[in-house]
Symmetry: C2
Subunit: 347 residues, 2 copies
C-alpha cells in the first residue's frame, strides 16, 4: 500500500509537532480508571493508590536532534537520559526507571555503543535511576534513541501544566539561552573545520555555553528544594523548546494570560557577550532557543516569601486573567504579544 494513496493529502511540515500530536491523539479513549492523565502534559500519570506513576518518552534522531560531528557519544547518551528525566521533574516527581531503545546503522561499532551507554549509565548513577529494559536493532540510516522514563510522586504532590491562576508568580530556575548559543558556537567550529581540517577549535570563551549544550543537567535539585521550602507550584513545565513556547503551554492549559518582563529574564554573562559577538538579540535567544532544561513554574502569591531571594529562582512575571492576553513587557516598557517561535525562527 502506498502511504499517499489518498487523493487529498496533507504535508506534515504544514502542521507542526504539537498540532500533529493533538490531531493524532484526539480520538484517544481512556479505558482504565487508574489512568489519571494521558497525552497532554510532561508525563502521563497512572494511579497506584497514594503513589502515582509518571511516564514520559522522547525520541532523538541523528541529523534532526543531534549531530555526531560535534556531539561525543558519551555526552549524547547522558543528554538523551536528561531530556526524559527533565519531564518527570517537571511533574514535581522523582525519576526511578528508564528503558532505552536504540536503532543503529552498521557504520557504528560496538565500541561506539559502549561510549553511548557509558553516558547513559553515568546519567543513571548521577540521578539514581535504574535502566530496566530496552531494545536494540538495526537502522537503515543513522542512529536513533528512544527513551521512556518512569517516575513517581505522591498523589498530592503532582504538579500539572494546568493549575496556574491569575496573580500567580511566574518563576524560572537557572539561566536561559546558553544551550542554544552553545550549539551556534559548535556549528561555527564545524564550518571552520570543514574549510580547514587542521584548525583546532577555540572554545575557552564559550565553555559554559558548550557545556550547557553537550552535557545538560536537569533540576532534580529544584524538586527537592521546593519540598524543603514547602512550596508546591500551581503549575510547572520544563524548558525544552524555549521559554515563550513553554509559558504559552502553561497559559493555554491553565486558561490564564501572563505578563513576562524582559528585563527579568536571567542570562549568563557568556550569553550576553556571545550574543553581542554573534549579533543576536539575547532576549530572542532566551525566549526561543530551547534545550535549557530548566524548570518554569507558577506559585501563588502567598508562597512568595518562601522563595524570595533564593538564588535558584528568578521571578520573571505573573499570570493574569485569560482575556488580558499573553504579553512580553519590553525593557522600553512596551507591551507586545508573546509568541512562540522555536529556534527555527532565530537568525
Amino acid at each position: 500500500m502506498l502511504e499517499n494513496k489518498n487523493s487529498s493529502s496533507t504535508s506534515l511540515s504544514d502542521i507542526g509537532e504539537f498540532k500533529l500530536i493533538e490531531h493524532l491523539t484526539q480520538e484517544v479513549k481512556i479505558h482504565h480508571k487508574n489512568t489519571v492523565k494521558g497525552v497532554g502534559d510532561d508525563c502521563a500519570v497512572i494511579d497506584k493508590n497514594k503513589l502515582q506513576t509518571l511516564v514520559t518518552t522522547d525520541l532523538l534522531v541523528e541529523g534532526v536532534h543531534f549531530d555526531l560531528s560535534y556531539m561525543p557519544l558519551k555526552h549524547l547518551g547522558y543528554k538523551a537520559v536528561m531530556v526524559n528525566l527533565s519531564d518527570v521533574y517537571a511533574m514535581n516527581g522523582t525519576a526511578r526507571q528508564i528503558t532505552v531503545s536504540i536503532a543503529v546503522s552498521n557504520r557504528f561499532t560496538l565500541e561506539a555503543l559502549e561510549e553511548l551507554y557509558a553516558g547513559i549509565h553515568l546519567a543513571c548513577k548521577n540521578y539514581q535511576v535504574d535502566l530496566v529494559g530496552g531494545d536494540t536493532t538495526s537502522s537503515i540510516k543513522g542512529m536513533l534513541i528512544s527513551i521512556t522514563a518512569i517516575g513517581e510522586a505522591d498523589k498530592k504532590d503532582v504538579v500539572y501544566r494546568s493549575g496556574a491562576k491569575p496573580q500567580d508568580l511566574l518563576i524560572v530556575t537557572g539561566d536561559l539561552g546558553a544551550a542554544y548559543l552553545g550549539l551556534q558556537v559548535l556549528e561555527r567550529e564545524k564550518q571552520v573545520f570543514q574549510v580547514n581540517p587542521h584548525s583546532q577549535p577555540i572554545l575557552d570563551d564559550y565553555n559554559y555555553l558548550v557545556e550547557r549544550q553537550l552535557k545538560p543537567e536537569v533540576r532534580k535539585d529544584v524538586v527537592e528544594l521546593l519540598k524543603e521550602l514547602e512550596v508546591k507550584p500551581t503549575s510547572m513545565i520544563d524548558i525544552s523548546d524555549g521559554l515563550s513556547s513553554e509559558i504559552l503551554h502553561l497559559c493555554k492549559q491553565s486558561k490564564v494570560g501572563c505578563n513576562l518582563y524582559e528585563d527579568k529574564i536571567p542570562l549568563d554573562q557568556q550569553v550576553i557577550s556571545t550574543c553581542e559577538e554573534f549579533n543576536m538579540d539575547s532576549t530572542t535567544v532566551a525566549l526561543s532557543g530551547g534545550e535549557d532544561y530548566e524548570l518554569l513554574f507558577t506559585i501563588s502569591l502567598e508562597d512568595y516569601n518562601k522563595v524570595k531571594g533564593n538564588p535558584n529562582f528568578t521571578v520573571i512575571g505573573h499570570m493574569t486573567e485569560e482575556a488580558e492576553g499573553r504579553s512580553l513587557i519590553t525593557r522600553a516598557n512596551q507591551k507586545i504579544e508573546l509568541i512562540a517561535q522555536g529556534w527555527n525562527a532565530i537568525s
Copy 2:
C-alpha cells in the same frame, strides 16, 4: 568525534542482538528497591506494594522490521501495539497503558499517519489499553515506531522466564510458523508485482498465513484462561523470534534442559500445504520462523489435569536436568541438539 575513533573496533553484525544487549547492560546497577526485575525478561518489574508494574518496549524500523509495500499502515499500527502487549501477557500480567513515539520522513502525509494511528487506536480498544503519551518527530529516512507498554499484575501472579523445573511440561498456545510463511507469500507477490505491475495478488489459499503476518492477535485470552483454570505457569515467554530461540531462553534462565518432540509441534493445515509448495521443512519454519506471538510456558506435572484436552494448549515436551542438554526428539525418534537459528537461517 568520529564514532570509530578506537583502533580496535568490533562490527555489530558480529555480535547479535541478545549478546549486544547483555554486553551493554552488564554494568547496570539497580538503585531502587522497588525495581524488582530489570533487563533480561519480557518486561521489567516495578514493585508497588502488592501490585507490580510491568514495563516493556520495542522499536520497529522500516526496511528492517516491516515493508510498507505490503504492510498497510493501519495493520502496522495494530501490529506494533501487539508486539508490545505480547510481552506483558508473557509475564502473566494485564496490559494497561502504552506510549507511542514515531519518527517519519517527509514522504509521509498526515493521512498516512492517521491510518497508522487508526490501527493503534483499534488495538487499544480491542485490548482495553490506554494510549498515554508519546513523541512525534522527523526522520532522515523512513518510518520508525517505538512503543512502551505498561501493565500490572499481582505480585504473586508474575511469571518469569526463570522458574521452570526439571519434569515441568512445556506447553505452547495456538499453532506455529504461519506468520513467517505469510511473509514469504507476501514477498513472492511483491516480486511478481515488480515484474508485472498489472498482476493481482492471489492470496485466497494463504489467507490464514497472511492474516497471522499482517494482523496478529496476542494471547490476553490465555492469561485470563490460566487464571480461570487456576494454573500459574512456572515460566513463560512469548514467541517472537521462533520456538527454538524462546525454549532456549527458558532453559538458560531456568537452568534446565529440555526434550522437545517434533511430532507434537502444532501446525495449521495451511502451514503444512504451503511448506510443501515452497519446498520448506515445516518443523524448521515452526522452530525458527518467529512472529507467532503465541505463549510458551511450563507447568508443573500436578497441574496437567487442569489443562489436559484444552484446545488452546499443546504439550510439546518437558524440561529436564540442565546436564541432559536441550534436545529435539525427531519424528524418526532421533535426539538432536536444539539450536536457535532465527528466520535468517531458513532458506
